[in-house]
């Protein structure tokens, strides 16, 4: 079974530019999550999709971040315009079902560097 795939693995962009990160969850996983780790800090929740719907987007830092999940399959996270403080590693995770008794599978993350 293919795991959670994220790309690009690394992106370097200039302040003010736009970047789009992509996550392909495990096939059949309805739940998709985005997390971010800023250098040296804890991993923080950004948002949660159930199929194509946003279940919880309370962790999105501001309106420069836009997440979509087309047809309940892959998801994109767009940052426009990027700021220096957006640098960090962006993780995607998916799970098969809701509730507490489930497992998450994480991708390898996208390291975003804004210069």
């Amino acid at each position: 079974e293919a795991g959670v795939t994220q790309f690009p693995s690394h992106s370097v962009i200039e302040k003010g530019q736009t970047v789009t990160l992509r996550c392909d969850p495990i096939s059949g996983h309805d739940n998709l999550y985005w997390y971010r780790r800023v250098m040296g800090k804890e991993i923080k929740f950004l948002l949660h999709f159930v199929k194509e719907s946003k279940q919880d987007e309370s962790g999105m830092p501001n309106n420069r971040f836009l997440a979509e999940r087309t047809g309940g399959t892959y998801s994109t996270l767009k940052v426009q315009p990027a700021e220096l403080e957006d640098s960090g590693v962006y993780f995607c995770a998916s799970s098969q079902a809701g509730g507490l008794n489930y497992g998450y599978t994480f991708g390898s993350g996208t390291r975003l560097t804004v210069v």
Binding site: E42, I43, G99, L100, Y104, R111
Partner: protein, 113 residues
């Protein structure tokens, strides 16, 4: 809201010895899960071990075990017979009915040959 605290930014252990990573958490929920994730240099987050809060028995997975103290809200990870491949960043996390994970700041573990 949940919080998770890992008070050890860095730890080191000699190969074949035992090391314990600390984690404390705070939650008002009665039903929750606790996790330890490992992130090696490849950046892939790998689940190490999981504990259900309603179970008093400590979870174990081969060389990995936890010391779950519910009243103290403590969830430490013990790695026995440490191997070079155990070197990684370790994150403690909790999840409740909201289904989002709340992570600690991480502990960087170095294994010395």
């Amino acid at each position: 809201a949940q919080t998770v605290t890992q008070s050890q930014p860095e730890m080191s252990v000699q190969e074949a010895e035992t090391v314990t990573l600390s984690c404390t958490y705070d939650t008002s929920e009665s039903d929750y899960y606790l996790f330890w994730y490992k992130q090696p240099p490849s950046r892939q987050m790998i689940l190490v071990i999981r504990q259900e809060a309603y179970k008093q028995q400590n979870a174990t997975e081969n060389r990995f075990s936890v010391n779950f103290q519910k009243a103290a809200k403590s969830f430490s990870l013990k790695i026995s017979d440490s191997q070079l491949g155990d070197a990684a960043m370790y994150f403690c996390a909790t999840v409740t009915s909201g289904s989002r994970l709340t992570f600690g700041e991480g502990t960087q573990l170095t294994v010395n040959p």
